[in-house]
């Protein structure tokens, strides 16, 4: 029995000690990034950008995010653990702004600058927000869609959600541009697939079934766009112009194959890079712009292999 207890103990201790080398000298500059996600390729690209900046500016970063974008309380726990390490600055992409306010205030009170990234935080605590101008980016998608349709036809949107800032901005950016610039294009449906490939596939199939004369579909993130591609492939629909968002292997393949007309890409690497850069600047007392636009591009078969585009695409 004693051996069992010792076994557990030994394990616990060895974990703690094995990870000890990861512990750090106190004078090191430490900037934790608490993200909205971790496993998605998009977030891994953000992390790559952050790592790049960390090396360049000689700071240590960590990058964490909950398993999925519903786990608001898990993200708060991550923020709490990050604060325990007395960081020099914090990067934070809020799943729900309100829920995080007490901890963000705690950070602000302790003089730790907070940089928001990806989607903003509805609060005046963050000193800057590194993000894509999603409204402008989705408007560009609308322009491209209109170009393909020759200015008239029926389109539909598969969005990832109706609550997050990015979901709302991309949907409205697209819809508003169509409404204001292209009176002959009719938006027949806006549906939500939670950014999940399978759910989005079903959503897109339902739209295609209901509208056999559909001219175009816009997917507002990677999962939505891949869902549309799956739906068109499974139903064998023809003449539907698909415009996606973000990248990822499945989406870039669909563009190379000609199944997808093109997609908007954010600059996830830039988001990560600018966040860490801004954190270092804030730490040194420099003033920062409220919004740091990290940029976006439209890519299709013609420019997918350009160095500029390849640098911001992720697989």
């Amino acid at each position: 029995m004693l051996s069992r207890r010792t076994l557990m103990g030994a394990l616990g201790l060895s974990i703690a000690l094995a990870s000890a080398p990861a512990a750090y000298a106190q004078d090191e500059i430490y900037i934790p990034l608490v993200s909205k996600g971790f496993q998605h390729q998009f977030w891994q690209a953000v992390k790559a950008g952050a790592d790049q900046a960390a090396e360049e500016f000689g700071v240590r970063i960590t990058f964490e995010g909950p398993d999925n974008e519903t786990m608001v309380d898990r993200q708060i726990d991550m923020l709490a653990a990050a604060l325990a390490n007395k960081p020099s600055a914090i990067g934070f992409a809020a799943l729900d702004s309100q829920a995080a306010i007490p901890l963000l205030r705690q950070a602000a009170d302790a003089g730790i600058p907070v940089i928001a990234f990806d989607s903003g935080v509805d609060s005046d605590i963050p000193v800057a927000t590194a993000t894509t101008d999603n409204v402008a980016a989705a408007a560009l998608a609308a322009d491209k869609m209109a170009e393909f349709l020759g200015g008239s036809g029926k389109v539909a949107v598969v969005a990832h959600d109706q609550t997050s800032r990015t979901g709302i901005d991309r949907r409205d950016g697209f819809l508003n541009r169509i409404a204001s610039e292209y009176p002959n294009i009719e938006v027949v449906s806006v549906q939500y697939g939670a950014g999940d490939q399978l759910t989005s596939t079903e959503v897109a199939k339902a739209i295609l079934t209901a509208n056999p004369d559909l001219g175009g579909l816009f997917g507002t993130n990677e999962g939505s766009a891949i869902g549309i591609v799956n739906a068109v492939r499974e139903m064998g629909s023809e003449g539907v112009t698909i415009i996606g968002y973000d990248s990822g292997k499945a989406q870039t393949d669909a563009i190379r194959d000609g199944l997808m007309a093109g997609a908007i890409t954010q600059n996830p690497v830039g988001i990560g890079y600018e966040t860490v850069k801004a954190a270092v600047a804030a730490m040194n007392g420099e003033t920062l712009p409220e919004i740091i636009d990290t940029g976006f591009y439209y890519y299709d078969q013609s420019n997918i292999d350009d160095a500029e585009i390849q640098a911001v695409l992720y697989d």
Partner: protein
């Protein structure tokens, strides 16, 4: 080393108690070892604010684990606790924010909604003889869907009920002893644990809980209405889940309708680490509480040490397997 006493065969009850005690000691010892280990590894781990963060992180999972413990002791399983918690939070949101009713009604709504949901699961299991795994899997999806429908998939905020966030975030203890501002959520966790442990060990309901898990048929043959007791236990577990719903909603100052999936597995993991047997008839609330603390300490500690997130997950999984293995080896020896 001498847990097998050769003299006089002990009663079933005392064996249960002894077995439970041992596993709790084992779990408690691992908790202490983890705390010491992390403290040595990082100077930032053992500070008041971080300990409070760990307790805060334990509160919701701890309460869920307590609820699941009851069901698991009867030989069942409850996969619906995560989304049921969300459903209770959403109903509270409807009562407080949409209908503008006073705070106590919102609190009651959460607990009663939980009890009603639990009674439903219990009825499916007892009266309709649907295996608990399937019945609660169904409930899990039903409640997830209903949460989304009722809330219109948008979070419901509690800004109009100023006292609401105090349920979890406020600190009564901190007002008395300012140096240790332990949040009310943690206080509630311990109260729930104490009350549930009392019910389990000192009341008829608790006795039937163990009896159903040990040998349901013999309980039935001795003339007890097992269906009724089973439904009562599921309802009690449900009302505890309602409290978890209050805690998470208060902590986030909002009912997040999409949240909830995955929380049931973490609760079950805490229960198992705490030494409650998945085959029923054996378990303890204290064990589950310690189990939940171990999970929170582990997660927080690995984060404070900046262990890569991929590895955090691997370690947590390994700990679960190891904990159950240690428990099984111990039981084999007892036999």
């Amino acid at each position: 080393m001498t847990t097998t006493t050769p003299e006089a065969p002990r009663s079933a009850l005392s064996r249960i108690v002894a077995a439970g005690t041992h596993q709790r000691v084992l779990a408690f010892a691992s908790l202490i070892v983890l705390l010491i280990g992390f403290s040595i590894a990082s100077p930032n781990f053992m500070q008041t604010s971080n300990m409070i963060a760990i307790l805060q992180a334990t509160s919701v999972n701890g309460v869920l684990a307590i609820a699941v413990t009851l069901v698991i002791i009867t030989g069942g399983i409850d996969l619906s606790v995560g989304t049921m918690m969300t459903f209770c939070a959403v109903i509270t949101g409807v009562v407080l924010t949409y209908a503008g009713m006073p705070l106590p009604l919102g609190v009651m709504a959460a607990v009663l909604t939980g009890a009603a949901c639990g009674a439903c699961s219990g009825t499916f299991v007892a009266k309709m003889a649907i295996p608990p795994f399937i019945a609660t899997l169904g409930m899990m999806l039903i409640l997830k869907g209903l949460s989304l429908v009722i809330s219109g998939t948008r979070p419901i905020y509690f800004n109009d009920t100023p006292g609401f966030s105090e349920i979890s975030r406020g600190s009564l203890i901190g007002e008395i002893i300012p140096a240790v501002p332990i949040p009310n959520g943690v206080l509630i966790l311990f109260i729930v644990a104490a009350v549930t442990a009392y019910i389990l060990n000192r009341t008829v309901l608790g006795r039937y809980c163990f009896a159903l898990g040990s040998n349901e048929e013999s309980v039935r043959l001795s003339g007890v209405n097992t269906d009724r007791w089973k439904i009562a236990i599921y309802a009690l577990a449900g009302s505890i889940v309602g409290i978890a719903g209050l805690l998470i909603a208060s902590r986030l100052n909002s009912a997040q309708p999409a949240l909830g999936l995955g929380y049931e597995l973490e609760a079950i993991a805490a229960v198992v680490i705490g030494g409650t047997s998945l085959s029923g008839g054996r378990g303890s609330i204290l064990g589950s509480l310690i189990g939940a603390l171990i999970m929170a300490v582990l997660t927080n500690g690995l984060r404070v040490l900046s262990v890569a997130q991929e590895w955090q997950t691997v370690v947590t999984g390994a700990i679960i397997i190891l904990a159950v293995y240690a428990d099984m080896m111990r039981r084999k020896k007892v036999k």
